[in-house]
Amino acid sequence: MEKKIFSAVGEKEVTRAIVNEFAKQFSEYVESDCLIIGAGPSGLMAGKELAKKKLKVLIVERNNYLGGGFWIGGYLMNKLTVRAPGQEVLSELNIPFEEVSKGLYVADGPHACSKLIAAACDAGVKFANMTVFDDVVLREGNRVVGAVVNWTPVEALPRQITCVDPVALESKIVVDATGHDATVVKKLEERGIVKTVGFGAMWVERSEDLVVEHTGEVHPGLVVCGMSVTTTYGLPRMGPTFGAMLLSGKKAAEIVLQKIK
């Protein structure tokens, strides 16, 4: 008799496994403690920290992959640099790195990124990838209490056949970790609820500090972290590297914890 390597499972079982498990998780995470928009380094970091504290965290990501710009350092070269004390976070995540000059550390992009994603998953973060943020959910006093989302491919459809309504997710607090776009903050601005400053007035090398220092609640129920901080507050744009993203994510988590206690 022919010996098989894999157990006998039919197509229908495979499909059911996917649909049922996804539906179960999605239904459970329609309501969460913290909804993070954007699975780049700052969003992943914030999510990991919050999930470690037993919060129910869902990260929405419009791409099929997680990690944002963290796979690649810059100029398509997959080495990441962080300045002290960013390397402490690398150590914490067991990411190997080297000191290349005083206070400047370098790590492998793929290694660092996969470890960060794994750390978030291990902590219990759940993800909705291929999902795009469409709008905010608002309550009394314009407090942000969730997000309206849709499948990413729906966005790519021609306008005349895109009458696919989105769905809404609720949470106690929303984090905008969408990078330069600051998509969530921009949506509030479109609605006339906040007025952002626009892009930075000038470039100064010490701008990483500013990203971390300005990370926080920008409007009731909405915290900004990572590069979206620079867009929101008009901070210098070119300085920040990955250390600021990681530390900003950490700080965002601390603020979320304070706010929803």
Binding site: K195, T196, A201, M202, V204, D209
Partner: protein, 276 residues
Amino acid sequence: MRIPSFIYLYDSGKTESLNLNEISQYLKNIFKKSKIQIRDDIITCYLSNFFFKEREKVIDNLANQMTKIKVREIEIKNTVFEPLQGEIEYEKKRLSESGNKSFGILYDGFELMTILSKLIAKEESDFSYCHIVFTNQLFSTWDEGDLRYHARVSVYGFPSVISTTGIVEAPAKPREFYLKKQLWIDIYTLKEEFRGRFIDYDDLRMTEVMKGYVLQAIFYHITGNPFCKDKNCRLYNAHWQEEVIQAQLNKNSEYCKKHQKIIKQFGTENFKNEYI
């Protein structure tokens, strides 16, 4: 117009390379009859007038004012924005920490001077007092010529404000520096290559350079004119880092002949305004 009886130097917080004792000694040699005093940074000095409970209110108020004088766009003359909560929080934190730092945010220099002038006690507000505030805030002034803001090292008035961040960021670095920066060479490599040709953060030459700016502030106080046309004089209004270095660190000629003569007179009974 007369020589101030009191010259107060306010520290900028944590600028380690700035040695105010040395600057004070330098001034003592010129203004032999003035009383020169080094003070804490001006915010800390002002806050010490209030009890702990009131302080929070005072900081709130100051933070609000500071957010409103941020330059939002370099090519648009300041329009007042309603500050975001996060901006106020940032300023509150900056102001409540002694040795508060401020990197990367650009303020309007004259507006900053106006805010700081209100922190000076009434009894120290006449012309016998010269207040010189060091700050690490970066500020700029609007130029009607090319209709944009330009970062500055100093604004002179009551008080005069001198920026330790401004001395790094405001005077232009050598042209090749900017050409190479456009080629995406990272700032650390670039700074290494051009080391010595511009004043950097924590630069050991900071104190020496600042002596000239302090003198400009006092010249403004006494004569209304802080600047000299001679590139080798400490009163030269430098726009390039190379000019800063030439005017402030070239020890062969500290001042031009005219200013040397005036400075000599400062310490004597014979000083009369006609020298100016």
